[in-house]
Symmetry: C2
Subunit: 298 residues, 2 copies
């Protein structure tokens, strides 16, 4: 059974959960209600040999990526992180636990997400860092979900796409916290849906389309690509680990660039219907599912 199918097992059993669960599995984070406060919770695993190679990644890069993935999930909800918990299964013989935790603590603090607890075990297998990040939604906008895109909205993306693994950017990306907060400030409820691009634009946009019950079309010519993508939009749509924000906007778009300089690009539109498609330069319409991506990617 593939991991994506396994994850579906969690979603299957977590529909219509009782209070305090407002949003369960199937978004970038769960939304819980305590008193009058909404709380975001996301859990991610960073697996040696899968999300990084011990031989080529530095401890600082491993620590950074372990924390950044969860922080990026909070950004994708329009939230800000509050604190994090790390459950570490360390490969037997791994001697740099102290430095690893020092660097995780450093990056956690960098993103205002201090380590507030954890658990450590030593295992005869790959190192796995399971990171739980707790956060708060934007105080004005509230949590931005995947399921609320509407026909007529535009599809947008922060920054540029493609070549993350080849360039090593997946080990050094900056979670889009500032951009997320700015979009919530500027657009309020017009920021209708959002996701972070961990598994590639095609798969992740399909998730917005499916959750919202809409059709989404992406314009190939509009995609802002990194140089490392060599103009290959097909590869860029299928490649994962961009960790940019993909979002839908009702009405006028925000400014072309956020105050910190990150670009905001319209790349498509939301329509009535279902599915996710790419319109090519020559007017062809391709189902993104036919472009191929790694279904084993989470």
């Amino acid at each position: 059974m593939r991991e994506s199918e396994l994850l579906a097992l969690i979603e299957l059993r977590s529909q219509d959960l009782p209070a305090p669960v407002i949003v369960g599995p199937g978004d970038d984070a769960a939304v819980l209600l305590f008193g009058a406060a909404q709380v975001l919770v996301t859990v991610d695993q960073l697996v040696e040999g899968r999300h990084y190679e011990q031989a080529s990644a530095t401890l600082d890069q491993i620590a950074r990526k372990a924390m950044a993935r969860g922080v990026s999930d909070i950004a994708a909800m329009g939230g800000r992180p509050a604190c994090a918990f790390v459950a570490a299964s360390l490969r037997a013989g791994f001697t740099e636990a102290d430095e690893l935790f020092e660097r995780m603590s450093f990056w956690a603090n960098t993103w205002s997400c201090p380590l507030a607890g954890g658990d450590i075990a030593v295992v005869d297998g790959p190192t796995v860092l399971s990171v739980t990040v707790i956060g708060s939604p934007h105080p004005g906008r509230g949590a931005v979900l995947r399921r609320t895109a509407r026909p007529g909205d535009r599809l947008m993306v922060t920054g540029r796409l493609g070549g993350s693994l080849e360039s090593g950017r997946h080990l050094a990306f900056e979670p889009r916290l500032a951009e997320s907060a700015w979009l919530c400030d500027e657009l309020g409820d017009r920021l209708s849906a959002m996701i972070d691009l961990s598994d590639g634009l095609g798969l992740d946009t399909s998730r917005i389309a499916k959750a919202s019950g809409v059709r989404i079309e992406i314009d190939a010519a509009a995609l802002p690509l990194h140089d490392e993508a060599h103009g290959d939009w097909r590869a860029a749509i299928s490649a994962g680990e961009d960790y940019e924000l993909c979002f839908t906007v009702a009405g006028e778009p925000p400014a072309d660039t956020a105050p910190n300089g990150t670009s905001m690009t319209t790349i498509g539109r939301v329509l009535e219907g279902e599915g996710c498609f790419v319109r090519t330069d020559d007017g062809e319409t391709i189902d993104v599912a036919d472009l191929g991506w790694d279904h084993n990617a989470k």
Copy 2:
């Protein structure tokens, strides 16, 4: 480096954390503040070959223990669980993921702690289930910490101790949620400190003593032992995985038994000073650290 030393690395870097962290590492759960609401968070790992043996434990037992440990941590804070998140690293070739998650969901729901999210990876190593449990403190008493025992308090324990591993009880224990809620209801602030017994009475009581800056004496003759402990209080003090509540009470004790029949036994006292000691039948006083326990236990 031992796991207990590794855990100290987390605590070392998590002193005086900023809001919303009220209590960070070093208690059974962290205490966070969102709006006016306090939220409890605990993370625990269940490791194949360490906390259970694949060959001898059923899937139902594994699932139950994975959930019960975190729920017990919430009980030890005087809280009630709200929901849980599971990050599972499954041994490659493990074919029963569906049933495992079904049983985890069952036990989570049994303790009013539904699965609200998770992450799954397949690894070339032992299965590790990292469970994050979110909860709320008792609405009247608030979170019951380890650090608030006072000289003059009595030391008490729920149920009976010893022989948990030998008897298989560690795979079938009932988290003391009802007892915890009843103690908070009955005693309020007189319930001065609490911990759940995961690593053995000696080590866990030492944690209360250290956190509270007090000396604790345990009366060997007063210890309520399970039959499987064969009257060996030394073994029972060192043995882990009882998952009973150990707590301190100012003034009069609660009733001898909770409404559900669980016994409440006074086993010692809190004094000025430091350290944790056992008074034997013949009046000898032994430092529990000299009784020996598995320092590799978490």
